[in-house]
Subunit: 191 residues, 2 copies
Amino acid sequence: MSDGNATLLSFTGEKFEPCKVCGEPSSGWHCGAVTCEACKKFFLRSINGEDAKYKCIRNQDCVIVRTTRTQCQFCRFQKCKEVGMTNSENTNNPPVAEIFKRFPCAVCKAPSSGIHFGAITCEGCKGFFRRSIKERAPERYRCMENGTCEISAATRNMCRYCRFQKCLKAKIKSLPIRLNFKENLYLNTKR
Amino acid sequence: MSDGNATLLSFTGEKFEPCKVCGEPSSGWHCGAVTCEACKKFFLRSINGEDAKYKCIRNQDCVIVRTTRTQCQFCRFQKCKEVGMTNSENTNNPPVAEIFKRFPCAVCKAPSSGIHFGAITCEGCKGFFRRSIKERAPERYRCMENGTCEISAATRNMCRYCRFQKCLKAKIKSLPIRLNFKENLYLNTKR
DNA sequence: AAAGGAGGTCACTAGGTCAG
DNA sequence: CTGACCTAGTGACCTCCTTT
């Protein structure tokens, strides 16, 4: 999409983790990975054929950190590729999945994977909610304590009742639920 | 938009929402936005260089409503620009897209985006119909209920069968289907 | 030479799957 | 039963064509 990038990607006011190549503070997503400006520039210089000149005088396994990154171009470039940097277009923005990982699930606070049923949730809570309303009777969930169980990534499976309550509180919408695609399509793969 | 304006734009007998600038009842589309007469005049006075004199004595974030709109010219003009008012020609009619937004999609009642396949529909139903007839077998859609599912913006994805029936009922015409660009190109270059 | 509709694109998610 | 991963769509936005 030409620049519908203005969608989710523009929410990225967050901080990025350290440069994947050298460990320094990073400046964002460049060429397919979170890197510092220095490693970004290095990578961009390298991919124009420059890398053909790179030689490692040791065993091609030099450790790349801030203080050593200039000592072996070969291994630095190697690491750039290892962490996923690429030459292709459209790699200056993190994939949406990366963004969502930094938003906590509205139910259990684990890293989320997107907007599901109208709320930001993880895959686990998404699946739990779907199963609950489609093939179960969530009104039959019972809390063995007093209905105030904490729901975290570590504890979310301990009480279905409280997990489901937390889903409702998170404004997860039970409708519209799409009907079973395949049944609705009457898929017969022979034909 | 030369003035084929006599086409769709003359349908606009509808009521407009409140003035985008001050919230008062509006009188129509002026200079690129729905505004009241007062804000229209204010904007037209401002754009002749008048605005150079405007100063905000607060923080350039004055709230602009009916009762306050005359208290800060700077912020009022600011808001005019924010809501999209412009100096350019031909902004006294809403863009056609705006008009269609007020016509409900003949299939699902969501705001429509134009005439597609002979009926006023939204982008969603347009795409659904196109995919149905071009790359699927809509006769294989099956309703899991009894063929009377309600099709609204919220429920349109719940039953393909009923959505497709609604398309047919809305007189969406499946023909003529234009050759796609590539096929067309091929035919043209062939001879 | 502009309007506007057909068809294409692709970011994104609902629902399915199945090893654990 | 859970949840990471996958598939099949969906629809907002875009490009290019036809028509006026």
